[in-house]
Every structure is written in structure tokens, then in C-alpha cells.
């Protein structure tokens, strides 16, 4: 059994992405006890799946490393991975939470030597790379994964492959007898930081995502550009592995649309502007990017980033929401629409189309097992009715990394105030 030490002075942080890690660290560094619960086998969430951040174009591994070092140095945080909150009872200052832990089939002895991965033959979808490739069923989710321990997929447990993984392990780390368990713990306050997921692109039928191989999403494009991704950092299109030198970015794919996501997802304009850099870096002047947009919303202080991209002669901007994507005989996706500047029709073929998908909360307000107020998109709203539950990061709004961290720090402060009150009452 997994044991968790938690009292009513503990803060529970749900979600171990950049927001959850930040909230947990900020609270723990003021001396609070924190339990950090993460659904995936590793921390870092969607941020670690990015190739680079805007605006400084630095690598997320850098920021993650700092956070991991803070985490490892702090004895007040207990991390539960492959864990999901299934029930919350009680009230502000005295919550009782049940957490379901999925078996990892690998214990703390693991040194990430990789022998089990070599022994196993079964391959599964590579979730870390948005299923763009396959990985062995005994795997390390990413090179930066924390905890740095392998995971054995439940599909090979009880098969010869599972036994092979166990036999290959020199450290007695593979435990195929692990069972799913439910632990209950107490907490005074909860920070809900379950983050976001890209909007389901197959719902935007006229863009043909899922039907046309060379129509991909912005999160998948991040993986293509990443040296740790399925193509080793080469921007190759999925249909034939040809270098995608002529890339179209379609903004507001799902966002600002009453039929899909009602809100502006805020980050996608900057994300596409950033991704034009990837094309430029990979192919130089041979790399051409086209951004189809309604209007560019370079949020906050990033107007100069937009102006710099605009000044690049290899990037063109077309003010139009693409109405339809078709495919020509060479499986090039063709963008069809009408350019608002001049109202002329176009049908332009590209090597690759990247849909700048919007953000929706990965756990909608109504799915949270507690009374939490949320807006029509499912984002948590700040409301006194939420009592001791505070939304953080992309669970509260469509945010970029920078703003998510700010939001998480604010949520940590609110949670600290609650447990301080509990501490005073108990003293």
C-alpha cells in the first residue's frame, strides 16, 4: 500500500503540469505540507511536450529542470503519479479526498537502465508524442521524465513480454503483481490545476483532420520539431516523410467559434508565430510559412514578436479563415477560402497544414468531483462557493505558460491562507 501523510494543514495539488508544480513548490517553500497528484507517470504536463517556449525561444527542459531541482530539494512535497482524484468530501479546512493509483509495475529500485525496454517486443502508441510514433510497452515516457522510472503498460502484464521485462531487470524493480489501489487523504485546501487539452480537431470536419495525413495539430508540430520527437527534430510530413518546407498555419481552429470553443484560446497566435521560427530554422530561405488568420492576437507584451515575424519575407499572412481543406493528387493539402483583403478566392497547396487548435480544460468544471463554479467552456471561475478549492493555470482559463505560472502562484497563496487559518484554530 502507498502511504500518504496528510492532515488538514496539508494542501492538495491536483495536476502536476507547470501550474501544479508551481503551486506545489510555492506552497511547500513557505513551509506547508503538499501532496501533488498527477495522472501521467511523469511531471511537467503539456509544457514538457513543447519544443520551445515563446517569446525567448528557450527550451522547456530548462524551466523544468529548475522546478525539478526545487522539488527534489523539498521534503514537504509528496508526489503521486499515475494518480487520479475520484472523490472529494468535507469542506474548506477539512477535506477528505480519495485518490485512485494505477499500477506502474515498476518500483523505486528502477535505475532507468532500459533493459526491460530492450527485452519487450510489444509496441504501443507513443502518448508523449501525441501518438505520432510507437514505443515499447516498457518505456520511459520522456528523457526528462520525473520520476526517472520506467513504466510497464498494463497490456503486457500477464503475457510472455511482461515476464521478459521482469527477467531482464537486474535490480528487482519490475513488480507485475502491483494492483490498482485507492488511498484517502486529508487536506485543508485544494489547488485544482488539471490543465488543458487541445480541442478535438476531428470535430472541425471541413479541415479533414484524421482524413488527410498532412493536416496535423499545433501540438503535434511541436513534437515534429523537437529533437526528442518521433522524427528526431526533422520537420517531415506524415504521409510520405518528405520535408515540409511550405507550411500553412490555420488560426482559430476551434477557438472563437460558437459551434466549437466559444472563447479565444489566446496562446495559439503566439504559438504559430513561434512555429514559423521552427520552419525558418530548419530550412532557411527555402522554408515558407503562411498564416491564415482572422486577426492576430499577440497577447500581452508580445507585439514585437509578431512584428519581427511579420518582417520575415518567408512568412506570409492571409486574412481569412480557411473554409475547407482538400487534397491534391500528391497528397498536398489545399487550403480553400476567400481572402478578406480584396475578397479574392484562393486554393493554395501546401506541404503541411498545421491547425492552431484551441485550448479546452482537460477536466471540465462539471466533471470535478466537488462543487466548483465554472463558465460555459468548463473553466473554473473564482467564486466563494468553491470554498477551499482554487483553480490554477489552464483549468481556470486559456493561458500561456507565463500566465499559468502567475495563476498558480496566486492559487497557492489562497490555499496557504486557508491552511494558516486551520493551523491557528488547531493551535
Amino acid at each position: 500500500m502507498t502511504s500518504v501523510v496528510a492532515t488538514n494543514q496539508t494542501i492538495l495539488v491536483v495536476g502536476g503540469g507547470i501550474s501544479g508544480m508551481t503551486a506545489a513548490l510555492e506552497a511547500a517553500e513557505t513551509g506547508k505540507q503538499v501532496v501533488l497528484v498527477e495522472k501521467n507517470p511523469y511531471l511537467g504536463g503539456r509544457t514538457v511536450q513543447l519544443y520551445r517556449y515563446f517569446p525567448k525561444m528557450c527550451h522547456p527542459t530548462c524551466g523544468l529542470e529548475i522546478n525539478l531541482r526545487r522539488l527534489k530539494a523539498n521534503p514537504r512535497i509528496q508526489v503521486l503519479t499515475m494518480a487520479e482524484v475520484t472523490g472529494i468530501t468535507g469542506d474548506k479546512g477539512a477535506y477528505n479526498i480519495s485518490v485512485k493509483l494505477k499500477p506502474r509495475y515498476v518500483n523505486e529500485n528502477c535505475t532507468a537502465c532500459g533493459e526491460c525496454g530492450k527485452a519487450v517486443k510489444t509496441e504501443i502508441d507513443d502518448a508523449f508524442n501525441y501518438n505520432l510514433g510507437k514505443i515499447k510497452a516498457a518505456y520511459l515516457p520522456s528523457s526528462m521524465a520525473y520520476p526517472q522510472r520506467y513504466v510497464i503498460d498494463s497490456s503486457i502484464v500477464g503475457t510472455a513480454d511482461g515476464e521478459a521485462a521482469k527477467a531482464a531487470c537486474k535490480y528487482n524493480a519490475v513488480d507485475l503483481g502491483m494492483q490498482e489501489e485507492v488511498v484517502t487523504l486529508n487536506a485543508g485546501a485544494i489547488v485544482w490545476a488539471t490543465g488543458w487539452q487541445p480541442y478535438d480537431a476531428t470535430k472541425i470536419v471541413y479541415y479533414g483532420y484524421g482524413r488527410f495525413k498532412n493536416v496535423i495539430s499545433n501540438v503535434e508540430f511541436e513534437r515534429l520539431a523537437d529533437p526528442h520527437g518521433p522524427t528526431g527534430g526533422k520537420i517531415l510530413r506524415p504521409s510520405d516523410g518528405k520535408e515540409a518546407k511550405n507550411v500553412a498555419f490555420i488560426q482559430c481552429a476551434g477557438s472563437r467559434d460558437e459551434n466549437h470553443l466559444r472563447h479565444c484560446s489566446r496562446f495559439c497566435c503566439m504559438a504559430s508565430l513561434k512555429q514559423t521560427h521552427y520552419v525558418q530554422e530548419a530550412f532557411g530561405d527555402a522554408g515558407k510559412s503562411t498564416i491564415y488568420y482572422i486577426d492576430i492576437r499577440a497577447i500581452d507584451r508580445f507585439e514585437d514578436f509578431y512584428q519581427n515575424v511579420k518582417a520575415n519575407p518567408n512568412v506570409s499572412f492571409i486574412k481569412s479563415k480557411v473554409a475547407r481543406i482538400t487534397e491534391d493528387k500528391d497528397s498536398n493539402p489545399v487550403c480553400n477560402g476567400v481572402n478578406v483583403e480584396g475578397y479574392k478566392r484562393y486554393a493554395t497547396a501546401h506541404d503541411l497544414v498545421v491547425l492552431a487548435l484551441g485550448m479546452e480544460p482537460s477536466v471540465k468544471g462539471i466533471e470535478i468531483p466537488a462543487e466548483v463554479m465554472s463558465d460555459s467552456s468548463g473553466f473554473i471561475m473564482a467564486d466563494p462557493a468553491n470554498a477551499g478549492i482554487f483553480g490554477a493555470g489552464c483549468a481556470t482559463n486559456a493561458l500561456d505558460v507565463n500566465r499559468a505560472v502567475q495563476s498558480a502562484t496566486a492559487a497557492a497563496l489562497r490555499a496557504i491562507q486557508v491552511v494558516n487559518k486551520v493551523a491557528r484554530a488547531e493551535a
Binding site: Y206, C252, R256, D257, E258, N259, H260, I294, K319, S320, K321, V322, A323, R324, N336, G337, V338, N339, V340, Y343, R345
Partner: protein, 210 residues
Amino acid sequence: MSDMNTQMAERYKNNFLKEIEEQAEMGEWVKMCMQCGLCSGSCPTNFHSGWDHPPQEIFMLIRAGKREEVLNAQGMYMCTSCYNCYVRCPRKVPVTHVMHGIAEYAYRIGRAPKTQPTMHLSKTFWTNATKNGRVNEVQLTQSLYFKDGISAGIKKAMEMQSVALGLVKAGRLNLLEAVGIAHKCKDVKGIHAMLAKAKELEAKRKEAKA
């Protein structure tokens, strides 16, 4: 009729947007357009030569107060009511209905072109269908074929001969309809009364606006 045109132009002087909002059906949606172009791109008639101004350009022209350009435009008559734009519009603007609203308004104030084919179809269809509560298919196709004169009509009819014969053989087309012996709905009087009432209500509504 064209008096009404001058009257309206005089009344709304420099505010064509207001004129459309108040006078054209669904006109109040024009200002909701965010100029994304999804409607125009989705329009199946946008390859047609008559398609001078796509919907989102018409919306913009209205907002820019270009009264003459809009009322002389052909775009709104080109709509085939496929509803592609309507279902896709990210702002839920009922584009199809707005286009019909503008077309109807242009017709009402006497600005619709006399020979516009879609308008001709709408009028012919309406007169035909409301007479018996059912469409008289033979008379309808006849009136459409012979729209551009007798020789053009005969030529068109010859082209479609095999289709017509096929329909007759399958029992889908009654040639007696040509001489007015046509199927009717059960309660023709009721339909006429209903349409008369609808017309009365619409007239009342338009009077209130005028």
C-alpha cells in the same frame, strides 16, 4: 416602387447599416460579422460569374454605408440556401437568412434587377406552389425553360427529354399537369387562408417599421 427607394434613402440618410437593421429581415445580424470569410469560402456558388460580392463583403459594404454598391450587387440573389455558411459561421450569424432578407428588401424598394434568374425562380415557384398547395412540376419546368424565349426553351426541353421520359415511366411525372390537371393538397382553401393570414401579419409588421 422606386419612390420607396428614395424615401428610404432620404429617411436613413447616412446610416445604411441602420436601414438594413430595421428594414431587412435578420438585418440586425450584420454587425455581428467578424470578417473571417468562412461563409464566402464555404459558398458553393462562389465560382459563379454573377457572384460579385461574397456575403462577408456585403456585410462590410453595409457597415461602410455603401448603399448603391449593395443594392446593385448580385451576391445576395445567388444564394441557393444550401446553409453551409449558416451552420459554419463562428458567430452563428444566420448568413443565408440575412442574404435573403437583403434580397427581399431590395425587391421591396424596387431595386432588384428585373431579369435575375434566382429571383425569377423564387417568384415562379411561389406562385406555382401556392396555387394548389403542391408544385405543378410540368408547368414549373416549362416556365423556367421558356424564360429566355421560345427557341431557347425548346432547345432546353429537348436536352432534358430523356430525363422527363424516365420520370414519366417511373410514375413520378404526370404530363396532364401541363394542361392544369394537377394533384392538389387536401385542403387548398385552408392553405390559402393560412397564406393570406401570414401575408396580413407580415404587412402589419412591415407597416410598423415603415
